[in-house]
Subunit: 271 residues, 3 copies
């Protein structure tokens, strides 16, 4: 137990009592698991399509928003560009998940345009963070990363400084940074990459943590710890992907702040 773990535990505690309502504008493949993972963790999921309704919700009861560009269309891009401006106007923090940025040009341009309205957090794998930071293009494995997360730490720090967002690079080790402080999270299990949407749903969980934390960096660390601990516990009970997906929801549902305080493996990354 240390200060970092207690801080992450506190975020889960607040999330459970506050029950933040999170609007997810996300890709078609993962909407169901996104809603279910958010519910199991303690948030309230909402998905909407119409810009007027998105504005209504952001100006009434939303506590956070996720923008995930996984199956971006021109219409959805316009909706997202409007939504981030509405979120800023309403004071609602938002998370960007730049799926496959660097590999596909259209979304790469749209993500740079979205970044002109600063998000509170950016979550991606190493390839995506490196590409978004402008360092180099991602190699070709679709939505999978071709680089280890460690290799993206410098890019993540630069991106955090440029955008003002906390950046969460996910991989075997997750790294959360605000550009000044960088924290590694060693929780998690490889099987989490073999169930569609666990990474994407992490973005919605990140938005719920933002609504429950003192700082974006604290939210990013909590996101990594909560999902990582749930993932490794679920993998121990269900090491195959079909049963793992159900077990992950069960485990998130049962997870307590004490579990986080006890099991989080967090450490400061020295320069």
């Amino acid at each position: 137990m240390n200060t970092l773990s207690h801080s992450a535990a506190r975020v889960l505690d607040t999330l459970r009592s506050k029950r933040p309502l999170i609007l997810s504008l996300t890709n078609n493949v993962v909407q169901n698991i996104t809603a279910n993972m958010l519910l199991a963790t303690g948030g309230v999921p909402v998905m909407l399509t119409h810009s007027d309704e998105i504005r209504d919700l952001l100006h009434s009861c939303a506590n956070g928003m996720l923008i995930n560009v996984g199956t971006l269309s021109e219409q959805q891009a316009q909706t997202m560009l409007t939504a981030v401006k509405d979120a800023r106007e309403a004071g609602i923090p938002w998370v960007l998940d730049p799926v496959a940025v660097g590999l596909l040009q259209y979304r790469t341009a749209i993500c740079q345009e979205l970044l002109q309205t600063p998000p509170a957090m950016i979550r991606g794998n190493a390839s995506e963070i490196i590409a978004l930071a402008g360092a180099e293009g991602a190699l070709c494995r679709g939505v999978e990363s071709s680089a280890e997360s460690k290799a993206a730490v410098a890019a993540a720090q630069a991106l955090a400084r440029r955008t003002g967002a906390a950046v969460l690079v996910t991989g075997e080790t997750d790294y959360a940074t605000d550009g000044t402080t960088t924290i590694a999270c060693h929780n998690g299990d490889e099987i989490m990459t073999r169930v569609t949407g666990v990474g994407c749903a992490m973005g919605a969980l990140a938005a719920a943590c933002l609504a429950s934390a003192d700082t974006p960096l604290q939210a990013a660390v909590a996101t990594a710890a909560i999902l990582g601990i749930a993932g490794e516990r679920a993998a121990a009970r269900a090491p195959r992907p079909g049963s793992f997906a159900a077990e992950l929801l069960d485990t998130l549902d049962a997870l307590t702040p004490d579990d986080i305080a006890l099991s989080a493996r967090l450490e400061m990354v020295e320069e």
Copy 2:
């Protein structure tokens, strides 16, 4: 065992032998669980997008239709407005699920426009039914209800009288009414609200029951009883949301008319 329970049991029996084909125009988040719950109960699910194909199906082999406005877009709204007219022309009963009506203006207007072509059933939580009946706006919990179902009974009765539809208010207790007779169903379990899409899929099950019942009220009661009994049995075996979702499908698949006759907890509500 009483007459109400036997009536609900008979609906399931007919549903199982008739295998009604149900067209669901529903939100993006729940299409998979909607299709799977319908299949497990004995219906045949179809989802379509193109208005011409919707008309083809309504005029050929559809037995019922669900309209759920959860992630309504302008294009989908136009498709739905056309679809309900096609359904009326083809004599196909349809169910309206007015998700989050009262909270979001665009869909509230569209639902009132949809109601000009009367549905056979309306299913919603208390907030939605109160808002649709024009009584007062819903409070802010996204797709969750901010009111207890009991509080919506008068609004449900008024809505049933105005539209000619049976109204099913779901909550800890479900209430089904045709404006004259009101029946409470005490089956179900709280965990059903913690899996995305169970409520939405109930709308497709309602359409299948409409195609298998003598009256919309009987269909509404059967819908509440079938899903409520399956839900409480599944919850007893799988009290966490991930495993519950799978167990609910298994339980629906195994459910017999005798189970309904034995376990339904239905009662007439006195004025």
Copy 3:
């Protein structure tokens, strides 16, 4: 064990080491299970919406593509018509799943237009293959077949000869043909038809097998054997649809080429 079984086993072996990246343009209902079944078998799933991004991916790292018309819209039809031309230009083999063709006119016309750019494989149930071959219209059970697969063998052979594609007719027995050689696969279990998307996801698996086989016919046979064996093994452990869906993914994840060689029930069909 025979030559056919060993050939199918070799396809799984290659698929596991090659990890083909499969772009699925498919219907809204099944995107999640499609991605998860592909991941469990060893492929890498990608779903996209924007034509420019589809072209980017086909010209960079895609190894195969699925076109499934289950919830076709006008916009998606245009995207698909462009995508198959891009795939031909890029030399990427593609699979057509003509869901409900013959029953619904719009998609029937679009599928005939798609066929002008020849796919490497067509996968459908008996009704769909008969309708696509122009033999007669499908009867009315939505996405279910009204004919037995055996009845579609002649139509499948004619369709294969006309298009140059391997045709895979799925049903209680699956038939794969290139118009000259026809092979029956007796693996599988009836419960596979009671989980939404298993058949549709088979199309993505077929694309992954195409990328891992010497010929389209070999890929079609391997597709039927891999999914059939996984399905019958999963059904033995989980005979109800909710738990079956998870068990199917677990079983695919654990399946080895030796399992295919041992359990495939394949035979040549004599004229």
